[in-house]
């Protein structure tokens, strides 16, 4: 009774095919958007922005990107960290080289550059598949991190080898640099996350998404029905890398402010984002957000409970976090391979008939 669709009639294909076919869902979505855009920016403080909201939104973008590649197109990638580094260093070079151009354009361009790099490393996917490819993408991860570490041009010959985001403004408000306020950080990430999620949703339910899914389900069959594997796989790599690049650019410029490539974009980032989409749900836009939220909130929660509540040492809490994350991955793969998104869908199914069981 809480969740109902009675009386919610569709009279056209267009109505049937919309993202939220049930009126209640649609309202909930609009309400969430209103809260996210009009309420949260006024109540957010630095702690909430830095610990929860900004990383959540940025990782959600990265998870969307990886989900396009892994969840929709079926190409497992362990190079996400490396591609995020490409986005970060691209936006850094652009910010310092063309200071008068808007940061938004820089971030989008950084995404574009990452897309090109991603396509380059996606080329082997035409010959190799499955975990051979997964391992091959590790080549991208290690090579890119090494490259950004060793070639001083990328970090503008700075003595520390770090990159630091200079201050850039949008409409007079600082969005990068030390003077950035919490609402500004949050809003720029929110706008990017919202627009990119919208793009991802429409891409994946359109023709390119169908092609990707056909390749994922059975590449040979897809080829027979006229999907060109070359363009399908490379477009998946390009789109995915674009998202990941934007996420990397935001992570560096807006969230971290300063980054050292081995630390900020190491192999652990790749696994973190992979875990987000496994836990959230492979092949689901909502799952990307759910997974990102879960993986961002879990350490905060554990830290508050174990270190803050029980007074355990932080390193012990970190190790227990590893165990929990690893255990959850295995648990989700066994119990619910479609992740939190599927659990949420099941909950809705149950609520439709609640309180009657059948």
């Amino acid at each position: 009774m809480l969740y109902r669709e009675a009386g919610d009639f569709k009279t056209s294909y267009r109505d049937d095919g919309q993202t939220f076919p049930i009126r209640l869902d649609r309202w909930a979505y609009y309400a969430a958007l209103v809260v996210a855009f009009l309420v949260v920016p006024f109540v957010i403080n630095d702690y909430w922005a830095n610990a929860v909201f900004v990383p959540f939104l940025i990782y959600a973008i990265a998870a969307l990107g990886l989900n396009i590649l892994t969840g929709y197109a079926g190409q497992v990638s362990l190079g996400t960290g490396g591609f995020m580094a490409v986005g970060a260093y691209a936006v850094y070079k652009l910010m310092t080289a063309f200071p008068e151009i808007s940061i938004v354009i820089h971030i989008l361009l950084a995404g574009g550059i990452t897309a090109i790099v991603g396509m380059l490393f996606g080329l082997p996917s035409l010959r190799i598949k499955g975990f051979y490819l997964a391992v091959a993408t590790l080549a991208a991860q290690f090579f890119l991190v090494w490259l950004f570490n060793k070639v001083p041009w990328f970090y503008n010959y700075s003595a520390s080898g770090q990159i630091n985001a200079p201050e850039r403004t949008i409409l007079g408000y600082a969005v990068t640099g030390p003077a950035t306020s919490a609402p500004a950080k949050y809003l720029i990430c929110l706008v990017f996350a919202f627009v990119l999620a919208w793009v991802a949703r429409n891409l994946t339910r359109g023709m390119s998404g169908r092609k990707w899914m056909a390749i994922r389900d059975m590449d040979i069959a897809a080829e027979i029905i006229g999907v060109n594997p070359l363009t399908a796989k490379l477009s998946a790599f390009a789109m995915s890398s674009f998202f990941v690049g934007v996420a990397g650019a935001l992570l560096f410029a807006v969230y971290l402010g300063a980054a050292e490539v081995g630390e900020a974009f190491g192999i652990n980032k790749s696994f973190l984002v992979l875990f987000m989409i496994i836990i959230g749900g492979l092949g689901s836009i909502f799952g990307s957000f759910a997974g990102a939220a879960f993986m961002v909130l879990l350490p905060v929660l554990l830290k508050n409970v174990l270190v803050g509540g029980l007074g355990w040492p932080t390193d012990l809490a970190a190790h227990i976090e590893l165990m929990i994350v690893g255990g959850l991955i295995v648990f989700f793969l066994i119990a619910e391979p479609h992740g939190l998104a599927r659990l949420w869908a099941l909950t809705k199914e149950k609520l439709r008939l609640w309180p009657f069981p059948h």
Partner: protein, 327 residues
């Protein structure tokens, strides 16, 4: 001329490193052959084995760190030490138990899933075991000493100095590692060829269904294979642990073993060894000749890029089975 001798030394050391890589890669190949599971956790298994070995040897209290945090006690050690041989045997038992638990709790529930799902499950397993190892035995760097000889081999140095006028520097541990690895491979091949369980293992690798239909217990074989892989991990852990101390970076050698496998083919034991040698020698020589020109530290990625380029031309690796797909 000295440059050439030095290159020869780099080459030899590369061979020895390659043997170490091959040792880790072997564990992968065993599991992959018998169950089709690409076991990312092999490196963490090596770390876990080494941690357990040190813990047992030095009489550490398992979970001491956590117990101390929970009850405010200060226990660290039981106060005894265990002889190396016994400690190795006990660690072996722990690895068998671990194999049993992994089969029971993870693999059994994932039968029939896509290989890539199994692969991701082993990534989760790797994280879990890493956390477990740290919580059980503490995350500090530990020295592992089971009595293997270490340090520069003076016999070789003086002999080569007499012959060529240039003493080659070779670590005695590397020589021992090579010998032990060779023994291990011989034992594994003999096991697979001449024992009943070995034949059953090969049958399972060929065809799960057919093996089941002639009365081979799939679960027993899986536990056995994971136990053997755990044992190989223990050997690898001992070698690497003795060489560079037992610490987190030990689990990263798995990442080095992956390109070795790609090069050698996932299903071939000789492939793992040849691939290991090629990568070991290749990355050392590349670092020696090309490294200084482009900033060094090429060892991080050379293996991957080599394997990647190789795969584009021969996707199944050197000794891998050709995957034929027809439309």
């Amino acid at each position: 001329m000295d440059q050439m001798y030095f290159a020869a030394e780099v080459f030899l050391n590369g061979l020895m490193t390659g043997v170490m890589y091959a040792l880790v890669a072997l564990g992968f190949v065993l599991i992959f052959k018998a169950s089709g599971v690409f076991n990312y956790a092999q490196g963490v298994l090596a770390l876990f084995a080494a941690l357990t070995l040190v813990g047992i040897q030095q009489g550490q209290v398992p979970f001491a760190h956590m117990i101390n945090a929970m009850f405010g006690t200060h226990i660290e050690h039981f106060g005894w030490t265990v002889p190396s041989v016994l400690a190795i045997l006990l660690t072996g038992a722990v690895m068998v138990l671990l194999a049993f638990l992994i089969e029971k709790l993870v693999l059994q529930h994932l039968i029939g899933q896509a290989p890539i799902i199994l692969f991701m499950a082993t990534i989760g397993l790797a994280y879990f075991l890493e956390g477990l190892g740290d919580v059980m035995w503490g995350a500090d760097i530990k020295n592992l000493d089971v009595g293997l000889p270490q340090g520069i081999s003076e016999t070789i140095e003086t002999a080569t100095a007499e012959w060529f006028g240039y003493g080659l520097f070779i670590d005695r541990l590397d020589i021992w590692a090579t010998l032990i690895a060779a023994l291990l491979v011989a034992a594994l091949v003999a096991f697979a060829q001449y024992t009943k369980q070995g034949r059953a293992m090969r049958a399972v690798a060929d065809d799960h269904q057919a093996a089941l239909s002639v009365g081979i217990s799939l679960r027993f074989i899986w536990v056995m294979v994971w136990s053997i892989a755990g044992f190989v991990a223990l050997v690898a852990g001992i070698m690497w642990g003795t060489k560079s101390g037992v610490q987190f970076s030990l689990s990263l050698i798995a990442l080095k073993a992956l390109p070795v496998l790609m090069l050698g083919g996932f299903t071939s034991i000789p492939g793992a060894i040849v691939g290991g040698l090629i990568i070991g020698v290749g990355e050392k020589l590349f670092e020696f000749f090309i490294g200084p020109m482009i900033g060094g530290a090429t060892e991080n990625w050379f293996a991957y890029v080599l394997a990647l380029l190789f795969l584009v031309f021969r996707p199944q690796g050197l000794f891998g089975e050709r995957i034929i797909e027809r439309v």
